[in-house]
């Protein structure tokens, strides 16, 4: 993070300045590359279209793992390898937040901390799905337990992305630059996405209906909101990096 600081100073050497832009662009372009693989893994997982119901019996869940174990393993392996590539993207947002004329970097550091915690959660869901598919001949009651753990770890811990978006939105509102790093609507957009993902937490207490883990709010709205969030933020962050590039060129 300190590197960014020094590189934005007007007296930084030219090579260091362009490197600072290049490394952010590399992290940015990991998103469409690995994002495509993640979409592929999402579509490959046989339990998403439609999402597995929480009302299935232990034997029905066991049948699902026994009949589809190869596809489950393949899709979860891709998730396992690619999921963490959102971290470099979030860190580009942290670097851009540090360019903002906010009173301090408190929100940038909070964002970093929340992003690091949040990214681990999908790994837990992924691991539970992989363990269930590893021995599909296991006792159906245990498969049901692993299946519950996987779905809950996947759908319900929305608090970290909510905190991330909240920090980013507040930082955008407080950015005192006349040409802000991110336009104000990005702040509103972050709040709206956080609100759309929040109902996912209620999947912990609902086995049926729109709030259950296979329901309209918990599954479709939550997944759709996250997907569109990454897609929109990709272009917004790209514009912010381009702005930084122009500003550094102007002060050179």
């Amino acid at each position: 993070m300190e590197g960014t600081l020094h590189a934005t100073a007007a007296n930084a050497p030219r090579a260091e300045r362009s490197m600072n832009i290049t490394d952010q662009r590399i992290c940015l372009w990991l998103v469409p590359g690995f994002g495509a693989l993640l979409v592929l893994a999402f579509c490959m997982f046989p339990g998403f279209f439609p999402p597995l119901s929480p009302t299935l019996t232990a034997d029905e869940v066991a049948d699902f793992y026994r009949n589809n174990f190869a596809q489950i393993r393949a899709s979860m392996l891709i998730f396992n390898l690619c999921e963490v590539t959102f971290i470099p993207f979030y860190m580009v947002i942290v670097v851009q937040m540090q360019r903002m004329a906010t009173p301090s970097r408190a929100f940038a550091y909070s964002y970093l901390s929340a992003a690091a915690s949040g990214a681990t959660l999908f790994a837990l869901a992924d691991l539970a799905w992989l363990i269930a598919a590893f021995r599909p001949e296991r006792d159906p009651e245990l498969l049901l337990l692993l299946n519950d753990l996987a779905w809950m770890a996947f759908i319900t811990p929305v608090g970290f992305i909510i905190a991330q978006n909240f920090c980013l939105a507040l930082a955008i509102y407080m950015d005192a630059r006349t040409k802000p790093v991110f336009p104000r609507w990005v702040g509103h957009f972050n709040i709206v996405i956080a609100l759309l993902m929040a109902p996912g937490a209620f999947a912990l207490m609902n086995q049926t209906g729109a709030l259950a883990w296979d329901g309209f709010w918990s599954f479709w709205v939550r997944s759709g909101a996250f997907g569109s969030y990454i897609a929109v933020m990709f272009f917004v962050v790209r514009a912010a990096i381009n702005q930084q590039d122009r500003e550094q060129g102007a002060t050179a």
Binding site: P103, S117, L144, M152, I162, Q164, A201, L204, E247
Partner: protein, 145 residues
């Protein structure tokens, strides 16, 4: 490191125009208020709703544990829903502490170590516990033999 402190002011050196600075500490105060608000909520979640403080005795028999979960399942579920929604806000206090640690006349290595330790600790130390109890309370009729 002083640029962490007065980020707004130092930016003018780089030729970036800024509007008149408003409250110079507003973001740090927002982070600070997350401490009393969310730690009160955590207390409500763990003590009143989750019934984990004081902790149930480790010597409970299987039947007693099943009874403990079944009797409290709806409150417990609400507890872990609230935890899932709010745990991320614990990050705001670490953001504030990093800003303050970076004012100190020491290398930032301790600040970064603090941030990494706290980001990781939130999961096994808090969320995982909630998720496991939520799992137990989700199907109180689950087979327990």
């Amino acid at each position: 490191m002083s640029n962490t402190l007065s980020a707004g002011a130092s930016r003018s050196d780089t030729g970036v125009e800024t509007k008149v600075a408003r409250d110079k500490k507003l973001d740090q105060w927002i982070c600070w208020w997350s401490l009393p608000i969310f730690y009160h909520l955590f207390g409500f979640i763990f003590v009143y709703l989750g019934r984990l403080m004081p902790p149930p005795a480790p010597g409970l028999t299987q039947a007693q544990i099943v009874e403990f979960i079944q009797q409290n399942s709806s409150k417990m579920q609400l507890a872990w829903v609230l935890l899932s929604l709010s745990l991320g806000f614990a990050s705001l206090s670490s953001g504030l502490i990093i800003v303050q640690m970076k004012r100190m006349t020491v290398s930032p290595v301790l600040a970064y170590a603090y941030m990494a330790a706290l980001s990781v600790a939130a999961l096994p130390g808090c969320l995982f516990c909630g998720l496991m109890f939520a799992l137990a309370a989700f199907r109180p009729g689950r087979s327990h033999t």
